[in-house]
Every structure is written in structure tokens, then in C-alpha cells.
């Protein structure tokens, strides 16, 4: 069997349903096989979008996303998407063509050292120089991408390897002697952990993306209810614990709720679950939760004690460890007084906004929530749109919030929403965009129309790169250096692609426009003209302790 066929057969063995990819000179043999392969293939208009689509597909479904590009520029265009997936621990396999083995290192046409370039943004990568290694490599790539702390794996396949013949042998199992993730927590640590939890008076659960990745929402809810501890989530953790739950504090950190940040700062025990104490969460690190003991549960040992001192580390898969912990914890803790204090903060410092002249973006998010009853998948771009989407939509299911948390990639949301829609065709999928971000991958309108990927894009159009402008307003004396950005007529643009466009300039039109967008069987751009200099509040200035919030009602 030829290498290209072996690749396709291997993808089928891995139960891949869809590939997001773009053809080119060094992947012609693969594309020849794709011509009649039983695989869905989505052709984006830019390779970067292929990577984000594979990523969005993976985030929405929990399966491995697959993208494919040619050598050189095709591969380098994937890198932003690969780095995005790497930072958020998303399982992805990226396949790239490479110039033929005899030309590698010769500065051949469309040659780039892709394994070199992607070494620091992949969990692992491979250059397959012998067709006999191909099937095993693909099997390993999927195994590594999916297991342990997931991440992107790149497989670079020279064009001559795609053409070489060999017998197709699918390995029974994967044996990698240097790779053995720990799934179960150390029983001694679990015992210690249970003991410390039962004696805590002011515990807070701080849940991250690991809860979603490991599918531990049920266990998290059980734990929170059993020990009566309030739960705050990172951006990546949203959806891991229902926002509508009485114990939910919403998001913490730089744009977190005041009550979540106060709770963390006043707590005597932080139970960190699948989270990594990112600087956007901790603020000034030496002032972070001064009175709290810290339990840290994470599958990646290198996440533990990286940024903060940890009292009880537990290495393991969140779902397994929480299962162990629930067995070990006997009765409920005495936290009634603490819950009362937290409730007080919730009442005193609610998330709030004031209606101004133009439409409030927060109102749009509330309306989208009302209309979709929390059942939609919400993807976001990066910046103010992302934070408003995080703050004002109530996420009640895991995998319902899709956002580039770690890398903060503008242009991510639209293709990621498309990938999510491909993976979950029955879900209503929204991309919450800014007028800046949407222009970074706007060409994917064509892909949507062509493949009937009917996502709804809510553009929060303020004529600015809003988050950067907000920082300029607050910290650079309103010197709006190159953050005022123009765009096209989004309605006409959408129409020119064969999509639909709706413009909304008044608050009263918001609901109707959203209803219309949902009813249209096509991709829809809704161009919301929002308050131009609206800020995201509360906000913790960079380098401050997280209870030193400014703005808003905090």
C-alpha cells in the first residue's frame, strides 16, 4: 500500500470523521486518496483556519481534531492554530507534507523545517522518513495527542514517503517507554487532602480546563455540594460547573467577578482542580490568597508548584482523583458561615453595567443566553468580546464555551465555531466577535456557505480594538495609538459571500435580530453597533492583587 493510502487507512482506524485541510504540492498523493476516501473533508480558505477548526471540533466534541496542510507556507500557516491548541491542551493531530527526503535541508521550493519550528508548540512531533514507520507514527500521534494532558502532535510526511509502497500493518498497541501519564492520585495524598478539606472553614474550589478535558463536571458538582464549597472557574473552566448553581462564583482573575476574587483572597483552603495558576488568574503572585492552604490536582506534574507554593499536590486525572476523593471524604464540612459571607459579597458586588447611548454588549450576551436557554455553544474571539461572553452568558454544560485562553489568538473564534458546528451539527453555535478579530479570518465565510456550516456570528462592533483601547484609556492617558480600526460593511460583505447579514443599531432590535439569525438556515453575520468606549469591568490592573479591582460596581 502507498504511504498516502496508509495515512488515510490509519485515520480511519482512529475513527476520524472529518479532516480540515488545504492542498498543495507536497500533499498531492494524500489529496489523491482523499478524492474518494470515506472521510468528510472541509476546505478552508486559509490553513490557519483549518487548524482552528480542528481545534474547535476537538473542544466541542472531546475527540481529536485533524488538520492537514502542505509543506512550507501551508505548514507555517498552521502554526498559530497549533500554538493555540498547545496552550489550551487541546487534542489535535496536524499532518503536513514535506519536500522529498532527498531535498530536505536544501532550501527546496516550499521547504520549511516544520518539526523544528513546531517543537516548542507541540506536545510531540515527527518527521517520517521511512514509509514503514508511518502507520505506527500515526497511531502514536493520536495516542499522545489524546492521553495524559492532551495537546497537538504534528506529523511531517515527505512527499516521496507518501508515494512509497509497503505493507499496511496497524499496530495493536502503543509502547512509548518515556511516556506514561499518571491517572490515579496517590492514596496517601488523597487521604491528606480529605482531612484538610474536612477541617477547612473557608474553602474555595478553583476549577480549570482540566475539569472539562477529563469530563469531570459530575464529580466536581458532587464534591462542591458534599463539602459545601463555592466554586470559581478559570476562563477555560467555564461550563465545568453550572453558572446557575447556588455555589457558583463565576470566573475569577483579571476580569473575574469581585465575589470570586474576594472569596479566593479570604479563603483558608483553595482546591485547585485542573487549573494552572496563570498570571491572569493570580494577579500579583506574592499577594495571592495569603491565608490559604493550597491543594492542587493536575495531570501534569510540571503545572504543580510552577507559579505558587502548593501544600498538597496530587498528580492525576481530575475525574479519577475526584472519584477517589469523594470516597475518602466522609461528611459535609462546616462552611455555613463562610457561604453566608460569600453570599454577602455576591449581593454587594454583582456583575453590572449601565445602559448608555448605544447598545450594551453585555445586554447582547444576556439576550443570546435567554434565547438559547444556555444550550448553545459559544465560541469567542479574543479581547473585550471574549470577556463579555465569559461574564454574561450562563454556561451550564461542559464544552459549551470555546475560547483561546492561553495564547489569546484573535481570529480564532470564527473558524473554531465552525469546527464546533461540524462536530455538533444539532447545536446552535455562536461566535462572539469583535470588529477587529472577525477581520482576521473573515475569508472563512466562503467555507461556511460552501459547506453549509451555519454558525451565527455576533460582531460586537465598536470601531476599536477594544481591549487594547481600554488599556490605553486606563493606563496610557487615552492615547489611542492605532486601536481605532475600520472595517467593511459587514452586511454587504456577508451577502457577497452568499451569507446573510443583519445590522443592529438599537437596543430594541437586538432580540428580533437574534431570533431572525437563528431562524435563517445559513451563516449569519449580525453587526451590532455597540457603545464604542464601553469597558470590561471589573478589572484587576496587571501586577495588582486580585482583590484590588477597578471600575464597574466592584
Amino acid at each position: 500500500m502507498k504511504g498516502a493510502n496508509i495515512l488515510i487507512e490509519s485515520l480511519l482506524k482512529e475513527k476520524v470523521e472529518v479532516v480540515f485541510g488545504y492542498p498543495g504540492g507536497s500533499v498531492l498523493p494524500i489529496f489523491d486518496c482523499l478524492y474518494d476516501a470515506p472521510l468528510r473533508f472541509i476546505l478552508p480558505r486559509h490553513e490557519q483556519a483549518a487548524a482552528h477548526m480542528a481545534d474547535g471540533y476537538a473542544r466541542a466534541t472531546g475527540k481529536v481534531g485533524v488538520c492537514l496542510a502542505t509543506s512550507g507556507p501551508g505548514a507555517t500557516n498552521l502554526t498559530t492554530g497549533i500554538a493555540t491548541a498547545y496552550m489550551d491542551s487541546i487534542p489535535m493531530v496536524a499532518i503536513t507534507g514535506q519536500v522529498k527526503t532527498s531535498l530536505i535541508g536544501n532550501d527546496a521550493f516550499q521547504e520549511a523545517d516544520v518539526t523544528g519550528i513546531t517543537r516548542s508548540i507541540t506536545k510531540h512531533n515527527y518527521l517520517v522518513k521511512d514509509v514503514r514507520d508511518l502507520a505506527r507514527t500515526i497511531k502514536e500521534a493520536f495516542h499522545i495527542a489524546y492521553s495524559g494532558r492532551p495537546g497537538p502532535v504534528l506529523v511531517d510526511i515527505p512527499v516521496d514517503v507518501q508515494q512509497q509502497d509497503t505493507e499496511f500493518v496497524w499496530p495493536e498497541e502503543v509502547v512509548i517507554r518515556g511516556y506514561k501519564p499518571t491517572y490515579f492520585g496517590h492514596p496517601g495524598q488523597i487521604k491528606k487532602c480529605a482531612k484538610i478539606i474536612s477541617s477547612a472553614k473557608k474553602p474555595v474550589i478553583y476549577a480549570g480546563g482540566g475539569v472539562i478535558i477529563s469530563g469531570a463536571s459530575k464529580e466536581l458538582k458532587e464534591l462542591a455540594e458534599k463539602i459545601q464549597a463555592p466554586v470559581t472557574m478559570t476562563l477555560m473552566g467555564l461550563g465545568g460547573f453550572p453558572s446557575t448553581h447556588g455555589l457558583c462564583l463565576g470566573m475569577l482573575g483579571m476580569h473575574g467577578t469581585a465575589y470570586a476574587n474576594h472569596a479566593i483572597m479570604e479563603s483558608d483552603l483553595i482546591i485547585a482542580i485542573g487549573a494552572r495558576f496563570d498570571d491572569r488568574v493570580t494577579g500579583r503572585i506574592d499577594a495571592f490568597a495569603p491565608n490559604a492552604k493550597i491543594i492542587h490536582i493536575d495531570i501534569d506534574p510540571s503545572s504543580i508548584s510552577k507559579n505558587v507554593r502548593v501544600d498538597i499536590p496530587i498528580v492525576g486525572d481530575v475525574k479519577h482523583v475526584l472519584g477517589q476523593l469523594l470516597e475518602e471524604i466522609k461528611g459535609p464540612s462546616e462552611t455555613a458561615a463562610w457561604i453566608k459571607i460569600v453570599e454577602g459579597w455576591k449581593k454587594k458586588y454583582p456583575l453590572a453595567y449601565k445602559d448608555k447611548k448605544r447598545i450594551s454588549p453585555q445586554y447582547i450576551m444576556e439576550e443570546i443566553y435567554e434565547l438559547t436557554k444556555g444550550d448553545a455553544v459559544i465560541a469567542t474571539e479574543v479581547g473585550q468580546n471574549q470577556m463579555w461572553a465569559a461574564q454574561w452568558y450562563k454556561y451550564t454544560h461542559p464544552r459549551s464555551f470555546i475560547s483561546s485562553g492561553g495564547l489569546g489568538t484573535m481570529g480564532f473564534g470564527f473558524p473554531a465555531a465552525m469546527g464546533a458546528k461540524v462536530g455538533c451539527p444539532d447545536k446552535q453555535v455562536f461566535d462572539i466577535a469583535g470588529d477587529g478579530s472577525i477581520q482576521m479570518n473573515i475569508q472563512e465565510l466562503a467555507t461556511c456557505v460552501c459547506n453549509k456550516i451555519n454558525v451565527k456570528v455576533a460582531i460586537l462592533n465598536n470601531g476599536y480594538l477594544g481591549m487594547v483601547r481600554q488599556w490605553q484609556e486606563l493606563f496610557y492617558k487615552k492615547r489611542y495609538s492605532h486601536t481605532c480600526i475600520s472595517g467593511p460593511d459587514f452586511v454587504k460583505l456577508a451577502e457577497s459571500y452568499g451569507a446573510c447579514g443583519i445590522r443592529v443599531t438599537k437596543k430594541e432590535e437586538v432580540r428580533k435580530a437574534l431570533e431572525k439569525a437563528i431562524s435563517i438556515d445559513n451563516v449569519v453575520f449580525i453587526d451590532f453597533h455597540i457603545e464604542q468606549e464601553e469597558n470590561v469591568f471589573p478589572m484587576v490592573p496587571a501586577g495588582e492583587a486580585i482583590n484590588r479591582m477597578i471600575g464597574g460596581m466592584a
Partner: protein
Amino acid sequence: MRHTISVTVENKPGVLARVAGLFSARGYNIASLAVSETLDPTISYMTMVVEAQDERILEQIKKQLNKLIDVITITDFTKKEHVDRELVLLKVNYSLKDKAKIESILEKHAAKIVSHKADTAIIEAMGNQDQIKQLLSSLQQFGIQEMVRTGKLAIA
């Protein structure tokens, strides 16, 4: 503070780049690095001396190394009884009048002259870090023109 650690890795192309890349990407410093094949030709052995201000950084270095798929085992010699050696080649100014003096120093340090010309000698020396340091300071008086070192090797 300097720490000696060893890692066994898959003997594959690109593995050295992965290890070196990890150090540069995360801002860690390598003071020396020695790599060679082991008795098992599919495994390479790396001895590295790393600089870490505190225990936390050293822990991170080890954890990050462990995350590399191609890294098989890691040994930290910091608190472990071990033997370490380094090979040094020195080009030293050499004249008949200093011959006896140099030779007596070399004898004391189990070092030897491997070749010499009229005015320079190439000296081979082996030892642990202290021994090499002492030898260097003893030979300083004659003028050391060049020095190459393998980096530390360690085994426990």
C-alpha cells in the same frame, strides 16, 4: 547553584534539539552537556550541569524534561552519591627549563603530556571539578593558551 543531572533519551534525530530547545524556551541555563550512546544503542545518555537559583527551578527543569516524550529517565545527582569526571585538554607554554616543574605538577594530578612542540605542550587531564580547578591554577604560571573540556560525566 549548579546541579548535575543525567537523562536517558531515545537515540533519535532531533532529541538533542528538544532538550536544548526546552532550556532556551524556558530560560534555563546549561553550564555543560555531554551526550553519548549507551550500551543499548537505542538509548543516549546526557549528563548536564544546570544552573538553578533555587529548588523550585530545579524541580521545574526536571519536570519539564520529563514531559518530553523522548526522555526516558532522569537522575538528579544533587543529593545522591555519585562519581563524576571531566576530561580536559590544555595547550600550555612549554620550555626545557620548566619541564621538570610541569612534569611534577602533572604527576601529582594524574595528568600527562600527550604531545609537544618546541614551545607548547598538549596536556590531557581528567578528574572531578575540584581536581581540574587545582590543576588549572597550578599550570596558570606557565601560561595556558587554550583549553577544551568535555563537560562533566556522572554516574551513580
